[in-house]
Symmetry: C2
Subunit: 432 residues, 2 copies
């Protein structure tokens, strides 16, 4: 399928952050093949999309999520982390079947594509069911089977989670025309023994695979690690060699300046989740300091049970505001910086130079933002408008790999009624 976007206001996110008015963008076989002011005539075999009055930009990359947790959205709020996790979340998760995971994932994917996310980085369980939802919906995803181990020991050859993680990686990494990529995911330092983390690192090395991990999310995690190992969580994983693999480390709220140096040295990506960190009262991650030292920082929503939505426009907005306010500096995390975090930095985290950008040769993961909204008038500055004024609901169209998944309120690959019906069924069983 070929598409020609006509007369868009194009936010390229290229090196010079070019914003081009009345620009045409041509998409061929899932790839952006031309960006410019002409090209319409010789490509009359393409479906033409009138993008006047709309802004075309790279799709957003959600850097940290647990997509099936949509089922627990607004189920447990305004409580402390321990109560939330042990009295509410874990008991429900124990009851969740593959069926629940599948429908919960589809619901989360609906929300993401309706608000401009074209790729998400996820860690959860029942991977085959999440894969099914990703495959069918057409979204792009970097997935990992999150694993935990609380018992001492060194032989993990029969560890259920790790074996499932290996099976998942073997079977699905690179699947669906490369839309699905895999990683290994030790859940966190407080849910995995040292030997288990070693085993996962070895496994990841064997497959030359990346790693996704929760890191230094709470003060408790930080202080417990200092007590137990005499070092920070970052130093602990650094010393284990975990960061020798390409790593996305979610949260990093409590990292020290020395930790930042270690993360920079190893090219570790920080997935910053401002809403979740505020809502669970974890704190505010030192993002400006990390960026200053050259660390790649991306943005994530975390799961819907600690957010409570999967709307990347909210994270963009909040990531910029919170640092200015808390650090007493209005110049921090400018519009262009936070837009990088949501697009090209996400691509860098995945080792993908052809994502998060509009230029010839890049993958056609694109969104159209409808500018005909009161809150987007006047349009003095497109980047500021995207960061400070825009809403997820301003997304008019979402395309992944050159395929339109969502347009004008309509889901092209997902049966909304069926999802609504089945979510109700799942919830009746889980919570009824």
């Amino acid at each position: 399928m070929k598409y020609l976007f006509k007369n868009a206001l194009v936010v390229t996110m290229n090196q010079n952050m070019e914003v081009i008015r009345s620009c045409d963008v041509f998409v061929e076989n899932g790839i952006i093949s031309a960006v410019g002011m002409s090209g319409a005539k010789e490509r009359c075999d393409a479906a033409v999309i009138d993008a006047s009055g709309k802004l075309l930009m790279p799709g957003l990359i959600n850097g940290h999520c647990h997509v099936p947790m949509t089922l627990m959205r607004n189920y447990a709020d305004d409580m402390d982390l321990q109560t939330w996790l042990f009295d509410y979340i874990f008991p429900v998760e124990e009851k969740m079947s593959g069926e629940d995971i599948y429908w919960g994932s589809l619901l989360g994917i609906m929300e993401m594509i309706a608000t401009g996310t074209t790729c998400f980085i996820d860690m959860y369980d029942h991977m085959n069911c999440i894969v099914k939802a990703v495959e069918e919906s057409g979204i792009r995803a970097h997935l990992s089977r999150g694993v935990t181990n609380f018992e001492e020991g060194t032989d993990f050859s029969r560890h259920k989670g790790l074996n499932e993680a290996i099976d998942f990686y073997r079977r699905w990494n690179g699947a669906a025309n490369g839309r699905i990529t895999g990683a290994f995911a030790p859940h966190a330092i407080y849910t995995c023994t040292t030997e288990f983390i070693r085993a996962i690192i070895e496994t990841a090395k064997r497959f030359n695979a990346p790693i996704h991990v929760h890191l230094d999310e709470t003060r408790v995690e930080h202080e417990d690690c200092l007590k137990k190992y005499g070092k920070t969580p970052t130093r602990y994983l650094y010393d284990l060699g975990l960061f020798d693999q390409r790593t996305v480390a979610a949260h990093c709220v409590w990292i020290t300046d020395e930790d930042i140096d270690l993360l920079a040295e190893k090219n570790v990506t920080i997935a910053h989740n401002p809403t979740s960190n505020l809502k669970l009262a974890s704190g505010v991650a030192p993002v400006p300091r990390a960026l200053n030292k050259g660390v790649n920082v991306i943005l994530g929503t975390d799961g819907a049970s600690s957010n409570n939505n999967l709307n990347m426009f909210e994270e963009i907005h909040l990531a910029s505001l919170i640092q200015k306010g808390v650090n007493n500096d209005p110049l921090l995390i400018k519009a262009k910086t936070v837009m990088r975090m949501a697009t090209t930095n996400g691509a860098a985290a995945l080792g993908a130079k052809d994502l998060g950008i509009i230029e010839a040769g890049a993958k056609a993961d694109l969104i159209l933002v409808d500018l005909d909204k009161p809150h987007l008038m006047p349009l003095h500055n497109a980047l500021s408008a995207l960061v400070y004024s825009a809403q997820g609901s301003d997304v008019y169209m979402t395309m992944v790999d050159g395929r339109i998944l969502y347009e004008n309120g309509e889901f092209k690959t997902i049966d909304k009624e069926k999802v609504r019906y089945n979510i109700k069924k799942c919830c009746d069983r889980l919570f009824g």
Copy 2:
């Protein structure tokens, strides 16, 4: 006109925070005349609105705004307050004509009614033009002519701003079926001499009128006041007797515990503007402490040039998140607390017991929220959904004084095309 809302999920915001399923609400002559499970048959002369799958709640009250500043939306971002104000905002404001004010106000009102705001508290200039926009659009507004005076002296009988403020109050307080109410507004302690503030207080007393003022927004304001007057801004205004009038004090970011006691003693309302305070790096107001001491706290957007939108759902969301995260306490500013701030507390600030609530006898300022959105599924808890998941764009219908102003994307009282055309014209002249 009579309306019957059928089968709504009603968030009443009444004393017991009742949330009623499958509820009918009857509206007659601008007043809610019945709330309950029946009543459909005997009221067949009413226009029936099928509200199944929708949530009916009181309209939101925007506690602090400068509505015409929409014209400067996304015009000056990521800069310090001094540069922003003196190099960008003031020079444009000097050029603004009544025409600009009128169209900018209409644009802001469009945005507010499309995102569920039914009443706003505003302070600006060219009041007749703002009044015109309020009258025509049908929204409710508490307006004041903001005044400043930098020159020493005690005779203000010829002060242009003060005379305009008096004329405005005389002419418009209580106008448009009571939709428009007035106040006097000394802009701030750093833009008014002591004698001028005294004169405004005297004037407000003469008219038995309320006051709207900026208070303790920045550290600079706080410290300069300590230096100049030997007391905090709150104590300074308290000693002048300003708080003897019903007062809305915007921001209060730097207030001390003793200040909070003074505000509580005088029943002063704090208008909290979380987005603006973060974006301009003013800081985070001590809202939990103020609430604990019984101060009435409401929510505001501030102007669109420091936000950059007028979407109260964002302020609701942020007001809850920011306090949890910054104070390291996930139990702070729970969903029900912040919903009170956006509704009934706003009504209390206006001395209006018949606003911000769904009960028989209250004014029919109502909004319908469409629940058929992926991010509002499942619906475990309506209040949590409104605070943590909902978007301004979920608002399906907005009614003020029993009149529908907005429904299903359509503005009933405002010509959107005309506003777009004229906003462009104004901006071409102001910024061209």
